[in-house]
């Protein structure tokens, strides 16, 4: 019973922790501009993260090695360093966006300017990382993130023509008001939001922090195979609610407050309160993950002691990187940089850096010297290889598309 409860809690945490500011913004924007015509990109991204997160968890449990450790080993120090710099930069943008997201959620509940709240949020993020045990931290914000299920309730309350909604999702086309380029750009944004590199850095490092062993492989599978698809459904609910309420009103999402508007419109004050708690939890949880990921990737590349499971004195450089990253993201956020724009660029640019992160995972997951008899099967390798090809293509076309569409504006 205790084991079942642990697995169940893990699944709930995976659902609640799946969505971050990138998913909130990208799904709302595409819902208003493209309806459900880009739902396939969410599905594609969710399958991709399932395939590679399962591998990461398995590698961490059996080899006891997190992703960036393997990146350096397999790609070599030079390519590893380039990957580190690119990943750190994207992770930094994401951390800035998440900190601003938390501040905006608090601002929407208090009407205090989000700029005044950013330093407080940054301190709170550091304090939680410093004081709260890893598993508690993961569970609290993951479970609170379940409040975002209110988007699914919103869709149900609006009572859409389900047949038409599914038809649009299953027979996608480029709407007349958009171009093929903007359609492709937002497809990449949704894909990038689902497969953000920090997710695997955190997932694999977290598995090592929680000292996973072969016995935890079932938990890993349950989290990934049940939790992530349900988290993906949450993303689709955000898209559908924006499609149903914001789209017909002619609203184009450019602020985080607009993401919550469909819920307030359909469910009233209680719904609004719940969705703000959900946005707070999702962005706070992701801020913790990205701040920790900054420390993880730098420490793992440099070969320093890392993690919350060792005493801070032993992992002082890891904690210093985390602290400096939070401080720098706070300062960047205070420059009045648009958090939604930062989010958009972080998820699109992350798509460009994905192959360098995922390729070493695929190699190690096939290496019997690390994995014993738990290497990838043929089917998994086929799917993972197809995804690797997709990732390489995306990494080539992302920057040109960013320029052609002027960041998705036209």
């Amino acid at each position: 019973m205790k084991r079942f409860l642990a697995v169940f809690l893990g699944i709930l945490t995976a659902i609640g922790g799946f969505v971050d500011i990138g998913d909130l913004v990208a799904n709302s924007q595409t819902g208003t501009r493209f309806g459900m015509n880009l739902a396939w990109a969410v599905v594609l991204g969710v399958i991709g993260i399932i395939v590679y997160a399962e591998m990461c968890g398995r590698v961490a449990a059996l080899a006891g090695r997190p992703v960036f450790d393997l990146v350096r080993e397999r790609l070599g120090p030079r390519v590893g360093l380039a990957n580190l710099l690119a990943s750190f930069f994207i992770n930094f943008l994401t951390l800035t966006a998440e900190l601003a997201g938390v501040a905006i959620a608090l601002s929407l509940a208090s009407s205090v300017s989000y700029l005044l709240l950013i330093p407080f949020v940054a301190f709170l993020v550091w304090l939680v990382i410093w004081r709260m045990p890893f598993e508690t931290m993961e569970r609290v914000f993951g479970l609170l993130g379940l409040c975002l299920l209110v988007f699914a309730v919103t869709v149900w309350k609006v009572g859409p023509d389900w047949g038409s909604l599914f038809h649009t999702a299953s027979h996608p086309q480029v709407p007349g008001t958009e171009t093929g380029f903007t359609y492709a750009y937002f497809a990449i944004a949704l894909f990038g939001a689902a497969m953000t590199p920090y997710e695997v850095f955190f997932f694999s490092s977290g598995a090592v922090e929680e000292r996973w062993t072969e016995k935890d492989l079932a938990t890993n599978r349950a989290n990934v195979l049940i939790g992530f698809p349900l988290g993906g459904l949450l993303s689709l609910a955000i898209m559908a609610s924006a499609d149903l309420i914001l789209g017909p009103a002619g609203i184009d999402v450019g602020q985080l407050s607009q993401v919550a508007l469909p819920v307030a419109s359909a469910l009233g004050r209680v719904g609004l309160a719940v969705v703000l708690v959900g946005i707070f939890a999702a962005t706070f949880g992701a801020a913790l993950e990205t701040a920790l990921s900054a420390g993880y990737i730098v420490s793992q590349y440099m070969g320093w002691m890392w993690g919350k499971y060792v005493r801070p004195r032993q992992a002082s450089r890891f904690h210093l990187v985390v602290l400096l990253s939070i401080g720098a993201a706070m300062i960047f956020g205070l420059t009045r940089v648009d958090p939604v724009k930062v989010t958009e660029y972080s998820i699109v640019l992350s798509a460009a850096a994905l192959p360098l992160t995922y390729f070493p995972i695929l190699v190690i997951a096939n290496d019997p010297s690390y994995m014993g008899d738990k290497t990838n099967g043929r089917f998994l390798n086929a799917v993972a290889s197809i995804y690797l090809v997709i990732l390489v293509v995306l990494s080539i076309v992302t920057i040109p598309l960013l320029i052609i569409t002027k960041g998705g504006t036209g």
Binding site: P77, R78, V79, L81, A82, L84, L85, A86, F89, S107, L108, A109, S110, S111, I245, L246, A249, G250, I251, D252, G254, Q255, S257, Q258, A260, L261, A264, S265, L267, G268, R269, L272, A273, L276, D338, K341, Y345, L349, A352, I399, L402, I403, K406, G407, T409, G410
Partner: protein, 158 residues
């Protein structure tokens, strides 16, 4: 790794990051200079479309708050954000040099619509800050005319 290759990788990585940062910063501005009437008209339509979204958001926030479905802080912050966005659109468009006299007329037409919309959104923000949430629907009513004017502008010039 040798120090020289490490430094080279570091420089290359920094270059990639800087390039990405510059690109991100460069493409964030939908409105740049215009040299022809057609280019100016295109920028006017882009500005009007951005304003349409802000006006529609304020209308929906106002009706939601008036129906008792949103609390004060959310309403105030949401409306203020749209007011800031709308003012920025107006300011940016007004700062573009019209290339000829025909463009002057276009500029006057759109600036008048945007200015009216900014004033009416400000009225909604003031009422929301005073806690008159139940009355927001009435205060936001003039935005219907602004929305219609923006729709007509986009239809004519888009």
């Amino acid at each position: 790794m040798r120090p020289r290759s490490m430094a080279r990788s570091l420089v290359a990585g920094c270059g990639v990051c800087s390039l990405a940062g510059c690109l991100a910063a460069c493409v964030a501005h939908p409105v740049g200079p215009a040299r022809t009437y057609a280019g100016y008209e295109g920028k006017a339509v882009t500005s009007a479309e951005a304003a349409q979204s802000s006006v529609a958001t304020v209308q929906l926030v106002a009706s939601t708050a008036a129906a008792g479905k949103a609390f004060g802080p959310y309403t105030v912050v949401s409306v203020s954000e749209q007011e800031d966005g709308l003012s920025a659109v107006e300011g940016t468009f007004a700062s573009i040099q019209p290339p000829d006299r025909r463009a002057d007329a276009l500029r006057d037409e759109l600036v008048a619509i945007l200015s009216s919309a900014v004033d009416h959104v400000a009225d909604v923000r003031i009422a929301a800050r005073r806690g008159d949430l139940a009355d927001l629907d009435r205060v936001a009513a003039p935005l219907r005319a602004d929305a219609a004017a923006l729709d007509a502008f986009v239809a004519r010039h888009g």
